[in-house]
């Protein structure tokens, strides 16, 4: 169960979401309630035959294709035709 804020903060950190105190208070209860119901899946112990894929993998030739989409059209964070990004380490 997510019965404490430490577990909630860990999941939020992995997800790159910073929660306010109010959000933490609310979410720890809500998510714990959801997980208590969902934990019933742990009761399931039947063996199940795995299904087989219905298609075979298909491959294309290893050739570069002409770039027809402008990758920078939805960002202002561009410099010298490269994406600008924050510092890796502060």
């Amino acid at each position: 169960m997510i019965d404490n804020k430490i577990a909630l903060r860990k999941a939020a950190k992995i997800a790159r979401i910073t929660l306010t105190n109010e959000e933490e208070e609310r979410l720890v209860g809500e998510i714990d309630e959801v997980l208590q119901v969902f934990s019933k899946v742990d009761e399931f112990n039947e063996s199940v035959e795995e299904s087989k894929p219905v298609t075979e993998r298909s491959f294309r030739e290893d050739k570069s294709e002409k770039h027809i989409i402008d990758p920078f059209s939805n960002t202002k964070l561009v410099e010298n035709k490269k994406f600008k990004a924050p510092k890796l380490v502060d």
Binding site: T18, V34, V37, L77
Partner: protein
């Protein structure tokens, strides 16, 4: 009417509908007029010639804002069309606008929307939800007029392109009294669909009748080299449905008056049926939400404020920047599902939740496969309740809302084709019948759906 005349008339209707029911995020009047002119000049008359099409806002439309109902994508303009959009335009369909939705598909009532994204109102009662997550599509389909004569041919005025992960077509179709069609997984290309859960997402259709939903569906079916999961299908002719099953677990928790309407419609069809039990469905809602949120938490990790979507000035390291964008622009429901999905995948919990959920899903798939060896179709109510009022929704806890997907989750989890057909009203609000057929047996589904529709005669 010519195509340009019918399009102009549809635009007039669009403005009235959107003013009353706020079902569109973006309307594309100028684009529609341009397309109508192009169709008038072209001699080709495709399967959707002159029919206006609304598109759920998680399907990419080149040059037309596509938000997925989320504040984090409120400024996103795709540079390409989804494959389904290409196919619709090749057959003469005219895109009229992008319909509102719960953010990324996270919802059953289309109330989980980003800032600036409208919440649609049900045309049968504007104090009630249109269903979700495709609430805008449901409301638009119910509100537009039925038919018009376009280029000397009687055609539906409007059809809607929609999407379902766990029931997002069936819920609004049932609540708004229209037909919703969700195909077998793999029938329709997902290229250009903004992901919620890749193993569950299916693009489908809505119309006022089964024939209308089918008309749009047949245009978008087909293998796509850009979507590895799309299938080449050997079409089989429609079977005559002689025996159906009704799964007891899918009747649990359904409102008594809806059950009465359900059984009345079964009687009207006159089809022999058997009530059976499928115990594995006890785990269906839990299995679905674990898998869907796990996949969503992975898919939504791409929204970091760099290449597209909401952006701000950098401050701090990349972790600080990513967290600030995501924390500011994701809604409460987006945060809840991302955190839930992250949690069920983490070390120490993955076996207990995620891997078990996958096993359950396999079991449910297997059980449905066995059922379809004996029965031609399955029937259930579409939703356990009528469209709730907005103030009722605000009092529900998340777990209570998730539980209301109990009818729609089983066929969505098992990737089976299904229809929601309106069969009557309870407390003046529409109720739907859910029809489920075997995987890739859309031909039987459509024929049986039309048969039910003609016998039930919903108005």
């Amino acid at each position: 009417m010519s195509v340009t005349e019918s399009t102009e008339k549809a635009i007039e209707e669009l403005h009235k509908i959107n003013k009353k029911y706020t079902c569109f995020v973006t309307t594309t009047e100028d684009y529609a007029r341009k397309r109508a002119n192009e169709l008038t000049i072209s001699k080709k008359k495709g399967a959707l010639h002159g029919i206006i099409i609304s598109v759920k806002d998680n399907i990419c439309t080149k040059g037309i804002k596509t938000t997925a109902g989320s504040a984090i994508l409120s400024n996103y303009v795709p540079t390409y069309n989804a494959t389904v959009i290409e196919r619709i335009e090749q057959e003469g369909g005219i895109i009229i606008g992008k319909t509102t939705m719960d953010d990324f598909g996270f919802g059953t009532f289309n109330v989980n929307v980003g800032e600036g994204i409208p919440i649609p109102k049900n045309p049968h009662d504007i104090s009630r939800s249109s269903g979700g997550s495709s609430g805008g599509s449901g409301a638009a389909t119910a509100a537009f007029s039925s038919n018009s004569t376009v280029a000397e041919r009687l055609a539906p005025t409007h059809l809607s392109l929609s999407e379902s992960t766990g029931g997002s077509i069936t819920s609004p179709a049932a609540f708004c009294g229209v037909v919703g069609f969700t195909p077998s997984y793999g029938r329709v290309s997902r290229y250009g669909l903004i992901d919620y859960a890749n193993s569950l997402d299916k693009i489908g259709t809505m119309g006022k009748t089964v024939s209308e939903a089918e008309q749009l569906a047949r245009v978008i079916f087909g293998k796509d080299a850009k979507d590895e999961t799309s299938l080449v299908v050997q079409e089989k002719p429609a079977k005559k449905v002689k025996k159906v099953a009704i799964i007891k677990e899918m009747l649990q928790g359904v409102d008594e008056k809806i059950l009465t309407a359900f059984w009345k419609s079964i009687e009207l069809t006159g089809i022999p049926y058997e009530e059976i039990s499928l115990p594995s469905l006890e785990y269906a809602v839990a299995s679905y939400y674990i898998i869907a949120t796990a996949e969503a938490s992975s898919n939504l990790s791409r929204y970091t404020g760099l290449r597209y979507g909401a952006q701000e000035e950098f401050s701090g390291s990349f972790n600080d920047y990513f967290s600030s964008i995501r924390s500011k622009y994701f809604s409460a429901e987006e945060k809840r599902r991302i955190i839930l999905g992250t949690f069920v995948r983490t070390a120490g919990y993955k076996d207990k939740y995620y891997l078990k959920a996958l096993k359950i899903r396999e079991k449910i798939n297997h059980d449905f496969h066995i059922l379809f060896k004996k029965y031609d179709a399955l029937l259930s109510p579409s939703m356990p309740i009528i469209a709730p009022k907005f103030d009722e929704i605000s009092k529900l806890k998340p777990i209570e809302i998730y539980a209301l997907d109990s009818c729609t989750i089983p066929p969505n989890l098992a990737l089976l084709p299904h229809l929601s057909i309106p069969i009557g009203k309870v407390n003046s609000m529409p109720v739907g019948l859910q029809v489920i057929c075997d995987s890739l047996d859309e031909n039987t589904l459509f024929e049986f759906g039309k048969q039910i529709e003609s016998l039930v005669k919903y108005k």
